[in-house]
Symmetry: C2
Subunit: 406 residues, 2 copies
Amino acid sequence: MIRDLPKGNAVIGQSGGPTAVINQSLVGVVEGLQTGLCHQGIVDRILGMRHAVRGLTQDDLVDLTDVPGDRLERIAQSPSAALGSTRDKPDAVYCQRIAEACARHNITYFFYIGGNDSSDACRIVYEHAKAHGHDLRCFHVPKTVDNDLECNDHTPGFASAARFVATAFRADALDNAALPGIKINIVMGRHAGFLTAASALARQSDDDGPHLIYLPEVPFDEDRFVDDVQQMVTKHGRCQIAVSEGIQDASGVSIGAKLIGGEKDDHGNVQLSGSGALGDQLAELLKKRLPKIDGKPPRVRSDTFGYLQRCWPDASRVDQNEARDCGRFAAKLAADGYTNGSVAVVRTSRTGEPYASECTRVELTDVAAKTRHMPERFIEGHNNVSRAFIEYCRPLVGELPVVDRF
Amino acid sequence: MIRDLPKGNAVIGQSGGPTAVINQSLVGVVEGLQTGLCHQGIVDRILGMRHAVRGLTQDDLVDLTDVPGDRLERIAQSPSAALGSTRDKPDAVYCQRIAEACARHNITYFFYIGGNDSSDACRIVYEHAKAHGHDLRCFHVPKTVDNDLECNDHTPGFASAARFVATAFRADALDNAALPGIKINIVMGRHAGFLTAASALARQSDDDGPHLIYLPEVPFDEDRFVDDVQQMVTKHGRCQIAVSEGIQDASGVSIGAKLIGGEKDDHGNVQLSGSGALGDQLAELLKKRLPKIDGKPPRVRSDTFGYLQRCWPDASRVDQNEARDCGRFAAKLAADGYTNGSVAVVRTSRTGEPYASECTRVELTDVAAKTRHMPERFIEGHNNVSRAFIEYCRPLVGELPVVDRF
């Protein structure tokens, strides 16, 4: 089989929003190639694209073949995309420039670490090369804090972001209990509510926040929201609320996008992060609609957790290991003679058993440009998550600080 | 001397915005009393006020005398105010109710952990009791993430918040380098720029962010801001910016307060946190005023770090120890026969020597309701901090994660 492998160089890119463990995957691919195709004399140089396909087309490449192990390990432990990233989506002309760059640099293996838009870019590059008779082997390595890739139990990057969100809610709930009021925290997640749902891991006991959780999968209704909050304030004397940046009204219109105003990337995604507008507007709504206390509106605050969710340098151990494994597995797929594919993380343990997972190969077309949502069994009512979700999520995130108050 | 000490109960309150280590101070006072005045038979019960003076006047007290050591330690390690907090400021009528509550509960020692407003509340309570012939001994224990108490080298709570801010900037700078653009991060600090200045600790090398730092101590000018950002974008291809929520224009008007709209607490403080408005407005300003790129405004994002700065559960070790020591020292002041006072943290090491500090007693009137600002020697130009500030701040914050990129 090895005789069928095209000799040449390998190139690796990191695309889309960075995560706390995308560099683990980068280093995983490098290690997998070093001990595999490089060792076998099939791959000569391992090249990194600066800012993904944008750098590739501009010959902006970094030679990763001989980076010392201790530097690789420091890179693996660092959040964000060490090579730089892009949101460029290759069209036919762009693909032609990619193909020319691959020819210039004698590239026969193309590894692309990213989310659903990036897996689609990987598919486009592969199909373009194939249609033009080039044996360019293309592999997608999964990455996204949104956890919205099909075929995956969960996606590298999600667990670390979930760890940040759960830790933040646990700490912020104490702040909210100390100076009681209504606190809205806006969580990343354009279409899928997994990351917002992870806020539920913050709860140590029944009256702990988050008291309300709003996901993009459940239509958001302003009147019902105001009623929910009032009920919780009556019950607990305070209310901590998790709101996904991706909440939509019953007709599927994004509430955040309406408020923030409509900057779009090449994939057609409207900007949701990097603005506090959604939280501020929901806070204003509550101040206006809830009963006054001593003649004044209730105390309502909002925080938008923002980019710290995807770069906070306290990654989940499980996430670090799985992200690394996904990179190594992609290199193995190439060594095994596959011409293309996407790596997926599959859970091999059942509920109650010690957590275990493995990597598997899935078709690029099964992942590319598709979005997975929270399944119904993970959602409870219109403002909470289920026990099944907690059991799904807890082993990924690791131990959280145990906190207490009088 | 001990025969002069009034027998009775002690009461402890936590007031103002919580921090990651205010519970260390609470536990420090409890420990100091247990081994001191309780042991000597002077103090009978150690009582905690729920939500500070508000709880005291409502007889909402927690008996802390016999809380087991392991629970106390868990409380000490927990962020936020375990007893609850308030922003109430006692006036004459309120003081009368406090005096009556102290009489009802046979309280002769009053400990109040908080910032400059809280030290003023402690002073008011002391002076009211004295004027009415009550021997109520009142001690203030310092706390504030703003680091703006007079007589202190720095204030318990600051170092942990600074640790969060520096870690956040270091991680976010990698995100900003991966997907280059302009990134504004809004940092707490109503009047003093110390916490915003701590962002400078994030830098590992010369081209690392934050590239610009705006403090309340330096008048903020929109035109100059736009020019500064353009220069950094030209130089680095990106720009990460630290902005204090407390920035003011040349006439001393708070820019955030103008934008957020003016909710005030009892101390006259305008709400600045719990809204993304300042960051969003500055982002809009840059999008409008900076040159377009390919016909589009530059990529500008803003995050407002919000309440996580004061509650993130990864406190600085130095901060934890000093906060605990301040609590113990306050109990010692009472045992030593002082009738009142505020605890201050003094640095005993010089620049270059291993860091060391100690607690000292200062007059309540020297701290109460006063605000310390960044001294000029800590400020460099109109958009940076000095090496002297870095040397001042670094030992307080502890080791930060070392990160790398290609």
